[in-house]
Amino acid sequence: MRRAARSPVWLAAVGGLALLGTVAYVRVASAAPPNGPAAEAAAADEHATRSLRSAEAQAPLLAIRARAIYPATAALPGPVEPGVMLLRGGKVVAVGSDLAIPADARVIDLPDQIITPGFVSAGGIERPHGGAESVSAAYRAIDAFDPYADTQLSLSRGVLTTYLSPGGHRLVSGIGAVVKLAGPRDERVLKATADLNVNLGVFDPPPLFKPPFYASSDVAIEPAIVQRPTSRLGQLLELRERLMAARELAAGDVRPGAAKHDVHLAALADAWRQRLPLRIQARRASDIENAVSFAKELVATAADGPASAYLVALSEGERVADVVWQSGLPVVVRVENSFRSPGANAGPDPDALVPRLSTAARLAPDGAAARLALAAAEGDNAQDLRFVAILAIRGGLAPETALAAITRVPAEILGVGERVGSLAPGRDADFLVLSDRPFEIGTSVLAAYVAGQRVYEAPPAPTTQPASRAARIEPPPTTVIKAGHIWLGDEVLADGQVLLERGKIAAVGHRVPAPPGARVVDAGRDAFVVPGFIDAHGFLGLAGDQTAASADLPIARTVAVADRPMQRVAQAGVTTVLLAPYRVAGNGGRVAAIKTYGLDRDELVSRDVAAVKYSLRGKDPVTEVESIKRLVESARRYDDQWKKYEEDLAKWKAGEKPTTPARTETEDKKEVKVDPITGTWEITLSGEPLPESVKVTAKLRLTGDAIEGRMTDPTSGEEVPLTGSLSGQDVRLEIDVESPIGKPVITARLEREDYMKGAVTIANFSINLEAVRVDKGPVEFKVTRRRGKTKDGRPEPPRVDEALEPLRAVLGGRAVIVVEADGALAVNLALKTLVDELKLPVVLLAPDGLADFVEIIRPRGQGVAVAVGPELVRPRGGVLYNAAVDYARQGIRIGLQSAAEDAARNLPLMALYAAQSGLGGDGALRALTIDAARMYKLDDRLGAIAPGKDADLLIFTGHPFDAGSRLERVIVGGREVPRDPL
């Protein structure tokens, strides 16, 4: 899915739930036929969207199953776990734990996610108007509501419904409104005129200057009018006076137009006539008390006036908590503690407002009966509502009350409780999909729905994968795993969390950061998270191919994406297989470390060469070991070339001149002193199409059977490079000149010593060639290969020898040698040469009767490890004997090998069996994880849970090798391996 497609417009157009997949791991268990699931789902969605409008009753039923649903109703404040919610036509039909899901319902599974009602911000979004009037009732907040604005920021914080305030900066600042921040545009406005905004404690409004229309000698410019209130004393007076004037106007007692038309008075009269509720914002204790008495008086006595009232802000509410509680007035408490910055200094002023976290809790002594809503400080624009609730909880508010205070109660206070704020039957299906419980610190909003339509989807966590890859496949999701026990590799972390990002483990600890949009998997307090299991030697995916593989065969290429047998192995918990060929050639075979699950080859192959496998089985061990030794020696020389090259390269990069590139040749000079090629040759070219014969000189040098050289171009006089080879007496040389018809090739035969004869051919042309060696001395010329491209002096890399590359990896400490051997003689000989003499790390594939070798292996310490299996338990001397236990007891590092293809899926069971027959659960776990990784030098990526390691994890319900433990999830490279449908 392209990122560009994730625009709000697109969201609105597509709507629907099925596309939640990228963030929420949704699996749509559709009743529709299984073929083409994406198309089906999209079609179903479109259908759903359309029928929502036309016939709500016939709209399809949607069932959402989640880890928990918080209905936030008065009757059900706590969560329903696991939760099921039925939706139809944008409305909630039912919420419960074990609701029967009708057969025709489309089911969406959110096994890790939490559903709550969309948050309702009673504090709201402020758009303080610029009007100077102290009582400015004509200003309507709804005029500033932009239904086309980008509200993603608020939606990403979970606020779906908000109050719109005309500002808290005037005694009467205007008429507020209640709107949804998403959903169909014509259904956004829940209340265009919601209530009358009164703000106590706001003094000294600007003087009101009303310039006359064309001042003249008759029309004087009056000075600006000083407005009330200038002090606390005047504010209620002003308020009463204006309200009473409005009341008279509303009752028709005053002739409009008698005085100059006053829009604000007219608006106030309108508000009185409509019995708009009063919203009184007050911070100071005295203002709060005044607000309480004024509101009660007005609501109780004026039968034609405001129908109700509620209080907002209440920064000093704690001081008058009893008065407020006993008044029964609903309250919207602003948690005004600064949390984005330290805020202002209070100083020694005894009257300084120092907000306290406990205010909300004190104003709701009985949580269940409380009519308490929470809001952030003014100007927050409804973004940190959830965090504000967390702060109130820290101040002593019960979590259920806190949830109600940002959902149901504010909706009721604003008079829209029948539409939003709770998930009760008949309410709008406005809800959030949260990554975790609502008041966990790391929780983020993964998706938001209004009227059953998705209106927000968390953007994927940023990825730094190369563009080419990112374009091909989705990066693995960012995930936080919480569990009671995390097996780090050598020790267990209790009550831990692991953060997975981009297929790697990003953090491990008790509380790791949860990036926005991260999926949270809460495995539970008993759960064990362990590294993915490693099969120390297997043939997964070779499909019985017994062809002997040689050292240059890249076995990792046999890996196929979306391979069924492979997925079965992954589902069993084996996430890595050391893939070896069944049989190997004399120069050994490559062993690759591959993953059992991934979306492309890059993800599947952990290491191309993790080991080189040699087999002594059925061969003469003396000759074989000697041959391995020779291979290692030539690999060492090869490796030296590379080391030298890398040194030169480093020097070149640092700005030094490289040493003469002919270095290796000078070393070899003695050996090739009498070879049949090296030296200076005089070449005579003759025949058509040359008018006369041409003589040129060439310098040639033989290395192995490769020839390099330089020849003087007969036409230009420049030196041109020659490359080629000698096989037997036949010489083949390519002349490295550019020409549109190809490169000329010399084919000649050494007819006798120092003389060759042949032809130069280019395309169909051919001329005769005769050459005589005039000097056998070593020749000097600059390195010729790709000379043209390296005029900057960059040293040339040596030629890659695929057959020696694996051994080079061994010498470089990036791989090990796997030896398959039977019998004490072979094992002894192999270890003596490879470990003692050549100091190479060796993995021994468990030979038969391996107990006899313990004494051979043990003295060599960590230099030798054993891949035990495939048969763990054999009768020996009439007694069942577990080889793994014996090795482990002797301190020898062991891994478990399947030596099979997809039968590797039984490896965990083998380990369990080994555990119960003496290895112990921890021993079995180590053998399958950290020890196997270490013996193959893969512990930089695998075998442990630590930052930087691959995100290959298994989640068990208990210790992996406890009797009752169950493998719950398998994650490979950050991706959860899907389970097979039953």
Binding site: R3, A4, R6, S7, R127, P128, H129, G130, G131, S136, A138, Y139, R140, A141, D143, A144, F145, D146, P147, Y148, A149, D150, Q152, L153, S156, P166, G174, R185, P211, F213, R255, P256, G257, H261, V263, P459
Partner: protein
Amino acid sequence: MRTNGPVRRALNLAASGLALALGSAAAWGAPPPDKVALTGARIIPVVGAPLARGTVLVERGKIVAVGDKVEIPYDAREVDCSGRVLFPGMVHAHTARGLDIPNEPRPVVPHLDVGDALDPSQLFFEDCLRLGVTTVHVIPGNNTVLGGVGRVVRPIGLTVADMTVLPQSFMKISVSEKFDRIQQMAMLREALAELDDYLAQLAEKRYEEQLKKDDKPLDVGPAEARKRGRDLIRAEDVEERYRNLLRLRGGQVRFNGQDGPTLFKPLGAFVYVDSGLDVGNATRVAKEYGFFDRVVFCVGGPAFKAMDELKSAARPIVLPPELVYRETNPLTGEVRETFLPRQYFDAGLKFALTTGTEDQYAERMLTYQAARCVREGISRDVALRAITLTPAEMLGLADRVGSIEVGKDANLVVFSGDPLEFDSVVELVFIDGILAYDRAKDVRLQRLLSEELSDVREKRPAPPDKTDKPEAKPDTGEPDADHGEENSE
């Protein structure tokens, strides 16, 4: 040379006078030739198919014949336009240039008329000629609530009266920009609602006057007096301040839901709507006060988001000079660009293109704006109309300007090539048959392009890289040696 203020001003005046003189000598000097024949040009008439080679015959400022076989009267002055392109004079739908300031500081000034502030000597009008614009709708800027009425002018003439094509064209209303929207809307409603109160009081006053005239005592209460006085209101009774408002609301006296006499012709409104929400706000107000069917929307960048509302409103659109709207996703930081004309074109709405301020040279040219539209896939016909006939229709002048048709004003532009080609220049401009501009005699342009000035330009020490390589090279880590060598040559 240093000169003091008055002298410099005098020089400037002289210069602009000179510039005007070169363009419109005919306008005030010798009477215009009765008959002019523009021959041999490729004609793009905007209405109908282009003519590969044709003649336009102008008689007494009107086009009397267009075609490839027009007989040229013996007494016609013939202008050979071979190899040139003849295009109708372009129409600028909406600009506050030509005024000294775009808006009065006070927000509610419906009684203002730009005619009082038009400055015929503004260079802007000279530029209009230079760029082929022959009809300009000058109207107060967007930074207002009720900003006053505009005026359609031609960019020649020494007095405002000379220039005027259509006085009191449209009221300028803005529901955004000047203040926050809450205040903006409240002020607009207040001003419009105030008219009701005023008319009611005026009716009462008129009834009382009538009684006084007849020497009768006041016999009824105020409510009845207003009812009876409604029909007594005469046009001259309406104060200047309320006259335009009354015209905006249809010109008919109406209050308390009852109709009185029609005193004035209705006035339309150019309503500036910046964002999506403004479209809804403007529509509601305009419908409430009865001038919605005379509204032209001057849209801002983000207004296209309310395309559904704009579509159902089906009112003409004046586009902003900046044709690309950019917005940033607050969560991901992605920037999305929208080419605005395309949105309106796809919605099937009629739109006019406008030009920007002085700082973006290219966007000062209507032809450039139209060329950008064609480049973005809008049909050439619609793009050409958006700078000629469509704005003419909006202004109610489609019978006079905006195309080359028989009977229309002879507002003609002779381009050196296709008008949408970037290297085409305006060579001649005729307004009402008068030769208003001749590039060959454009003193200011000649000075701009003259050797003398180009010498000055060359002598100015300019960074050597800027001329050939407009963008500074990003740091490639390469040594700077190459550059040094180049510079030393």
